[in-house]
Symmetry: C4
Subunit: 340 residues, 4 copies
């Protein structure tokens, strides 16, 4: 079904836009490997447990979600659907799961908030140009009801991507971005190479819980915890930044083993099936984020498509939990998997 | 030859029916991997043993069979051949091996018993709707001469399968199934999510030996033994329930090492060659069950086709045992294999 | 080049004959894997050794050969070339390496001896029908100048092979075979399932050194040594008997580690390149045997083709030894390889 | 991009010349595996480090280079471009990285020096015919300003290569080669099989630092150090000499662990991406050398193409370092990689 959405979306999109969403960095090794990495993790299902009622609800950062699933931040939804991020937010609200709004959204965060005031929204922060501009974004995000701040830490510079020759900037507006300036090759202000000190400072700006997105190592995760994060999103950026990294389940297992008791661990990259979600939980994640599948749903049917993709994944998760003998997310323990 | 039967059956069946039998769950990972998993187990044959006479007979649950091979329970044989499960039973009788009649048979268990009174029949139990209906089935099964009861424990709900859009229920009758009721999306009563307590209770209903089918873990196998089973069928349901599980030989080795001394261990899933049977025995199985290959035989030539497939597998087993220096099934010891 | 010979031979042969030589048992797993297994063994070449002169000569069973290479026994060379085994023997003589004449040759061993009296000939023994007939063959083999006896121990029965529908027996004569009798499905007398006692007895018949061909395990190799063999040929019969065995380099390493000090270890199966020969020597073999490549040479150019294939392999071996820093076969030590 | 250069070069070259550069030895296993071996090494990037400024400069043999990258010695550049090695040298100078001039160049080392006096040039030495001729080459190399001598130690004889039927010698002149003589099959003097004593003697001829190129083992590397080398280039000769060797990253890790403290370790073979360079540094290399990609640049655009390929690789390295949290090459430590 997820594949059906992708196929239908691909049919509708111009190739450059499809490639923009689907592609990865360099030789496409990680983008192609991410889903396979989850397949390589094998399940050891339990039987004969009472799974008459399976409950997929979960508490993430203190709030309840319908499932341990959220929408990963992705850019420029207007390229996918005319209702853009407003549709995405409504789809997330309908599915009862959080949506991480990207700094690179094509609608302002306030417009998104207004379109789906009942959605659990987290704001993803890119720091481009300088920290002051970023601080203003954080204050706006807090003011318009976001529940968390996600600081992307794996983009000190953009990865080398195919397919981005198209002039994205000329096609859509990015209201949270600084105006083009004269700093050089990038028409928008450059990415700032953040440090742990910067992360610490960003955390000081806001009462929102702050997550660091893009961590792949235990030592970095521990340093993030020391900097004061409320959570970590293990991620190789969907294979769009550094190619040939360790795969998400491998990194998740390492990070969760190191700091899973100290903070909430999330993961994204290659999650396509309910069984993948079970595996992520078993390896120590509180929840997962999905990016491209949501885009395909958005392309196919706007907010309804987004909700359909999320509902399908939640339904698959419920089935997979039942088939694994797990009635609640707490029952999804490490012994359910072998590998990665 | 087994592949010849499949090719010929595929030619004869409408695609939806072929897909119904051949397909697996989700992304088809496990259904495709099952046969490969047996290939990955490598043989370390012995030479210069006295294998002039090779004896493939085996005692399963106290009864002698011509080979450590049985017919796994599969649904709706009328879709494969007009003589349906009656033909399957006659084929099993002719081959001298047990046949596990499915709850989802298209002929009543009594009709099957009458058609092949000399067949070693085991009855596979699905509990749908409620336990009382199941108890009635068990009593009927015992009354009409089944030698064992096989309780499927890996279907608290159906796996997500491609190709089942076809309205199976409308095409054939399933006499052991409760009539359609008003419980919702399923036109038949829903699967009951059994527990170890339920298994214990089912065992109390009957004097027949009871096997639990669908176990993949040592701890679950041990709990089944504590519940009173006479045997365990290690199975990932032919890849039709939970996709991306550990593979059958891996699970078999774990389960047999844990409880092989306490109960009889069987395995199904991906067994296609006599060498696969040798590998299963070496890893601790008392016998194996085959599903899809029997269906292909049934499609091609009814009872004779079923018998031909089984005879061929038994002949291959005899050859493989001889080439491994094993004159009896007791000679098939763990040192004959490396892996999985 | 070896591949060139195969391609040219394939062009010349009728498909059934090509398949007869090229095919393996069951699902063709081992026949296809054998060459790959040697590729998986990786070389750790030494540099800056004095390899101005590289000497590939070797002593096998007390006799010197131009290279640690011999012709494995293969059947029915008349199907490959009208000069049949006489041409093969002349090719071996020209190349200076031993030729293992098959019991299933289409020329009598005496005719072959006369055609190439200067060839180092070993006689391969199948025991079919009864031991007395075999004893007569052994006596003839000794009488007409063979230097060794190779007892095939992995054919208590034939493997299941595709492509042998063709009535080989009707096409060519097999002068060493007992006349067709009335023992059943085989038009020739059936294979005898030899035991270690039989091997011991066969050894007692002759003053020739006796090798056991078809051993894949250390314990069997040790038992062969106790029975009095002068050597062991590690072999999975080119993948034509039992499919999915452990691969030749893996078995070779195990056998050589166990009894390499007590007897001469040889190997066949999948050897196609000089690097493969180096790997076999590094893993403990005194020499290797090649089967199918010699057939292709025979098809293409008779005795000259046989010699060309062998010379090419010897030349490749010399180059590989030089590139590995090994001036003599004694310099080819285990540290030159990683794996299998 | 590197792939773009290869595609464009392939379009321009006659197939035999493309094959001459692109091909490897025997079955092409190593030539195909080399790039994949680097992909198999996985990155464990660090985040939140100060990578605002990334410095790719490095000291190699006491001299500064713009990046830890050099041009591996490759033969006969006139086949690639009419300006031949003079263009290559100018490209290297423009990119600020060293160029290892091959003994098999089609321009004299003095002409190359004159064409690019500002290039960091190292001279690669083949010893063919006898040591005296080699000594004369070394003296010329020192006289015309080379900064190092690279002694190739893995060519006691040529590997078996496809595609070299073309008469290279008749197409271009090789000014450093001895005139054809009467020593046999090679129209030029044969390769000398060098020994560690020879290496020691060669080192005594010159005040230049000497590197041994073609080492794959720790023991050989240690012996090279004892012989007095200033560095070692771990190499399987781009898969053109001995096929199926251990792969470059595996050998690099072994060699660097053994003698990385005692001498400078370099590596070549399969380096195609900036991430590959990071991996090589993490595994202990001071720098890498690239061969075929430089040829493709030379074919496409002469000196400018060479410089473009090198600049692109340096830019990719800078990006990969930044994405790995490494501001300098000293920050690229072993913990950044898993595997090989």
């Amino acid at each position: 079904m997820a594949k059906d959405f992708e196929a239908r979306a691909r049919d509708r999109l111009e190739p450059a836009v499809y490639d923009y969403y689907a592609g990865g960095a360099d030789d496409q090794v990680s983008v192609n490997d991410n889903p396979r990495a989850w397949q390589r993790v094998r399940l050891r299902p339990r039987v004969l447990r009472d799974v008459t009622a399976v409950d997929t609800t979960v508490t993430m950062l203190g709030a309840t979600a319908a499932a341990p699933i959220g929408i990963a931040p992705t850019a420029a939804h207007e390229l996918a659907h005319p209702d853009a991020e407003c549709a995405t937010a409504r789809g997330a609200a309908a599915a009862g799961v959080p949506y991480v709004v990207s700094t690179l959204s094509t609608r302002s965060m306030e417009a998104i908030a207004e379109a789906a005031s009942d959605a659990a929204r987290w704001f993803q922060l890119y720091v481009r140009g300088d920290l002051d501009r970023a601080r203003a974004l954080v204050q706006r995000a807090e003011a318009c009801g976001h529940q968390a701040l996600v600081v992307t830490v794996d983009v000190p510079t953009l990865g080398l991507r195919r397919h981005e020759a198209m002039a994205l900037n000329d096609r859509v507006g990015l209201p949270h971005m600084a105006r083009p300036d004269d700093t050089g090759g990038d028409t928008y202000a450059r990415h700032v190479a953040l440090t742990f000190d910067d992360l610490h400072e960003i955390i000081s700006w806001t009462s929102l819980p702050v997550l660091a997105k893009g961590v792949l190592r235990a030592d970095d995760a521990a340093a993030c915890v020391r900097a004061g994060v409320a959570g970590i999103i293990v991620s190789n950026h969907g294979g769009r930044q550094l190619d040939t990294t360790i795969d998400p389940p491998t990194a998740l297992e390492e990070v969760a083993a190191a700091v899973g008791d100290a903070t909430e661990i999330y993961v994204d990259g290659g999650i396509r099936r309910g069984t993948d979600v079970v595996k992520a939980l078993a390896l120590g994640a509180v929840g997962v984020f999905v990016g491209r599948p949501v885009i395909w749903g958005l392309v196919v049917d706007g907010a309804d498509g987004v909700c359909a993709v999320l509902d399908e994944l939640r339904t698959e998760l419920e089935r997979a939990m039942r088939l694994c003998g797990a009635a609640t997310v707490a029952d999804v323990t490490h012994d359910l998997v072998v590998g990665p």
